[in-house]
Each structure stands twice: as C-alpha cells, then as structure tokens.
Amino acid sequence: MKETISPRMTVNLGQLKLKNPVMTASGTFGYGEEYAGYIDLNKLGAIVVKGLSLKPRLGNPPPRIMETTGGMLNAVGLQNIGVDAFIEEKLPFLRKYAVAVIANIYGETYDEYKKVAKILSSAKGVHALEVNISCPNVKNGGVIFGSDPKIAARVTRTVKDETSLPVIVKLTPNVTDIAVIAEAVEKAGADAISLINTLTGMAIDLKTRKPHLRNITGGLSGPAIKPIALRMVWEVVQRVSVPVIGIGGIMTAQDALEFLILGAQAVQIGTANFINPHATMEIIEGIKDYLTVNKIKDVNDIIGTFRP
C-alpha cells in the first residue's frame, strides 16, 4: 500500500513558528474579517494586518487606486483605525483563530513608532511586529525612514527597545542598494526582514491632465514588480543571516516557490488577494503539491536551493 505523507510545512522566523510559509501582506487583507467568509483563516501561516498608527488616520481622498499593466497603484494613505481601536475592536475577532497575528506598524516620528510598539506589545494575541519604514520621517525633511541605513537602524532599535515580540522590519524598494539597508536593520536587532514594499509610481489621466491618484504618486504592487522583488530578495539573502520574507507580485504557488528557492523563509501575498480571495489557500495547496510531486518531505528543504 502506498502512503502519501503530507509534506511538512512549518517554518521558523526566529522565535516565531508558522504553520506554513504563506502570510498575508499588510494593507491587502484588512484586519482579516473581509476574507473570513472566503477562506479559513486558521490555515494561514500568519495574518499581517493593515498598518497601524498611534492615532486613527483618515487616509487620502479618492481616487486612491489605479490599475496599471500587470499591477496597481495605491495611495490609500495608510487609513486605519489607530492602535487602540485595533486592540479593542479587531483583535478579539482575530483571537478566535489559531493563526499568528502580526501587527504592521508605522509612524511619522521615532516616538510614534515607540509608542505604537509599546502598546501592541502588551496586547494579547499579537505575535510579532512588522515595522513599515517606507514612510516619510516628518522631523527629517520628509525623507523616507527606510531609504537611509542610519535612520532605518534607529527605527529598528527604537522598536526593539520597547518590545519582546519578534520584530520584522519591512524594507522599501525605492533605494539604490537595499542590501545596505538590510544589513543596517539586522545589526540594529531586527529578528527578520520582509521585502519589498511598493515601488513609487504615478499615472496620468489624459483627459483631465491630472494625476489619476489624488495623492499624485502611489505605490505600485502586483506581478509587474515581481522581477524587482526577486532581485532584491536575492541581494538581501546573500548579505544577512536573519530570516527573510519575500513579498511582491506573488499570484501563484509557482511565484511563492521562486521566493522560497531564492532563500526567503516565508512569503506574503498582497494584491493577489484582491483578484482572487482564495489566492493564499491555493498557494499553500500548490506548494504542498509541488513538494509532494517532487518527493520533498519538508518545505525547509527547498528554501535557499537556488543554483545561480
């Protein structure tokens, strides 16, 4: 009798253990509720919630999104209910599930990062923090935190000092050398690194000669950016030893496997959720199928098996 053993799917991100390497990307999965009617949230590797700030944020005026070839631009403006309302109104729902919840946080000053991190660290049901450093530092002439290794490192340390939760730092791709930033945040204590956030882009309405987005520029996501994300993950995995989470344009299990093979310990699924609410489940199943067909017993055995 032939027995097929389901491949082992658990992966470790430092202290954080995940059922499988497939997580949702921040800002693309709400606080989990929107997709609970489509998929079993328990089956996810982790849920990364929408970016949280100290105070609620209204977000940008519409239009906020625009389709582009193979992708989309968004300038939602980090609309969110604020960290307190999140804990009160959204966490109880998420606690009903046996899934790792990662709070994506951001601030406009070091102090905001610090406070948000502190508040979330004592909230029951938050398993890790993901620090979004793709936002402008208002005290520093608006330079993006994540575009300077020193500033990126300081944000990382600021958050680390406030929490005992694992800290994932999420990098922006709008930089000359992403590996330098990765090294800096690793040195500053990041437990894991996720990349990439969106690339800054723009779209123009020919009829009105105005930008399609009220905010003028927005973040480009979707399969259009996958080649750039893969390249950046490759640059980073060669230079850091903390676990790396691959993000950018992942639509299928094949896409996810490409990131794992390169050396990412896990992946995040963003824009794909919009187009197919079952995307995460299909990707998990697809990875399992690939492992089974290729007689690989443990997903960890394919991580980093890229042969350049």
Binding site: E34, P62, P63, T69, M72, I275
Partner: protein
C-alpha cells in the same frame, strides 16, 4: 456577506446601443440570488490584462436548475470595458459576486421615484422589477436621461413597469431636451417628501446636482455610487467615498463593502 467566485461562460455579448453592450453570462446554479444594487467583479479568466476585475451592476438575473444567467449592461468607457466588449460567445470570465449592499427597501409609500443617468439605469432596472413584486406600477415614476437618443439604453424593462416614464436627452434627440435632474425638479412638488422613496444612479455630476436639488427638502434618496475598485470586498480601502459622520466629522467609507448604495444626503462631494 462574502460573494463567491465563479467561472462564467459568455452566452451573449452584443452592442445594443452605441458603445453599450449587453452581456449574458452563465454561471453555476449556486450563484446567490442578488439584491438590486448589488454588483459583480468581472475579469477574463486566467489572464492578467486587464489586471483588476471591473465592478458591474447586476442588470438582470434568472436561475434555472443547471445554471444561472447574469445579465450585465455596460458602457465602453476605457480599456477594461473595451476588452469586455471584444469577448466572444463561449469565452470564460471570472465572476465574483454578488457583492455590496443592495438598495434598502422601505415599506409602502405613496410614490417610488427612479432617477437614472445613462448607464445608471442598470441597477435601477433590477430594482424596478423587484419592487414591482410588492408595489403596483401606479406608484412608480421613472426619470431617465441620456446624452442623445442613440445612447438611451436599458429602458425596455422598467418602462413596461413604471406607469410614468420621463425620458430626456441633452440634445433633445429623444424626449425632452433637458437634464434628468431638472425634469425631476419640475415634478418634485407632485411627491410628498415623507412618503416617497427616491432611488438614483448616474454620473457624479448628476448626483451632485440631485444632492443640491434635494438638499433643502426632506426627501430621502438612495444612490448607487461608482468608484474605482481593486478588491470589491472591503479589504483594500481603495474605493473611498467621504461620508458625513455622526458628530459633524467625516470619514471615508468603502463603496464596495459599505455601499455601493448610500444615502445621498450623507455624501461629501468636495474634499
């Protein structure tokens, strides 16, 4: 409230008016019976161009034992609808729905008024049919405006039901030469604010002028809004509309998940 995703097969897709297409899509019989005002997100099955699904109101719906038939009435305005228009019979599309909240249907009133601008007739047509199961034709008045005779579309069904049908065009090539909101305004005194339900759908400018017309009245008016969408399920926060909030402050609601039907009076048009 979550929709489901179906692979649909196009059984018909024809231009019934200038730039205006009627698409019939066969989906599995499990497709949930939609409420008037609900919509689907549609895209070509398996392709990434166009990348995002497009929101289209359910214009008509019927269900047999083996499959359901969804009818979509749409105008070609850009790339996505252009590509939709090019799909031939037998082509497969992904249909995600039904999505959003339908029109709220209040109890019997003296009058039910429908105000449609152009392709805005699409969700109202289903609403008319639906309301007709409960209310007599005699209560129903339809105002429908279009740019010109060649763009008047989707009246077949509602005009069979509504006892009073007022068609107008911008250039007078059909019906009165006037804006639909103005035709309605002239009639306004015929209706009693407390006992009339107004349902409207149409271009932004039409809804803004309707809002002005109604602003000093006590009429309640539900409108179906349009905004660019990515997810259709409330997850991306992309389809924002500014809404007046209880304590005088405003916030952004999601057209897909909090709408697409809103009370006209709650909408903030300038921000």
């Amino acid at each position: 409230m979550a929709g489901k995703i179906y692979i649909g097969e196009i059984s018909k897709n024809e231009e019934i008016q200038e730039d205006c297409f009627l698409m019939k899509v066969k989906v599995a019989a499990s497709f949930e019976n939609p409420l008037p005002g609900q919509f689907v997100m549609i895209r070509i099955a398996g392709l990434n161009d166009p990348f995002l699904s497009r929101p289209i109101s359910i214009y008509s719906f019927s269900c047999g034992e083996n499959f359901c038939l969804i009818e979509l009435l749409y105008r070609v305005v850009g790339k996505g609808t252009q590509i939709m228009a090019g799909l031939i019979e037998g082509s497969q599309v992904e249909i995600h729905g039904p999505l959003g909240n339908g029109f709220e249907i209040s109890d019997v009133r003296e009058n039910i008024v429908f105000i449609a601008g152009g392709i805005g007739i699409a969700p109202l047509s289903l609403l008319v049919e639906n309301l007709h199961r409960r209310f007599p034709s005699s209560l129903m008045t339809l105002y429908s405006g279009a740019q010109r005779a060649s763009s008047v579309v989707g009246l077949d069904r509602p005009q069979k039901i509504c006892h009073d049908v007022n068609v107008c065009t911008d250039d007078g090539s059909m019906g009165e030469k006037n804006l639909v909101t103005q035709v309605f305004q002239k009639d306004m005194k015929k209706f009693s604010p407390a006992n009339t339900s107004i349902y409207a759908c149409g271009p932004r400018e039409m809804l803004i002028s309707l809002a002005k017309i109604l602003s000093k009245s006590k009429f309640s008016c539900q409108v179906s809004l349009e905004e660019r969408m990515a997810c259709g399920t409330g997850a991306c926060a992309g389809c924002a509309v500014a809404i007046k909030y209880e304590q005088g402050i405003s916030c952004y609601k999601r057209v897909c998940a909090d709408g697409p039907v809103f009370n006209l009076a709650d909408i903030i048009w300038e921000y």
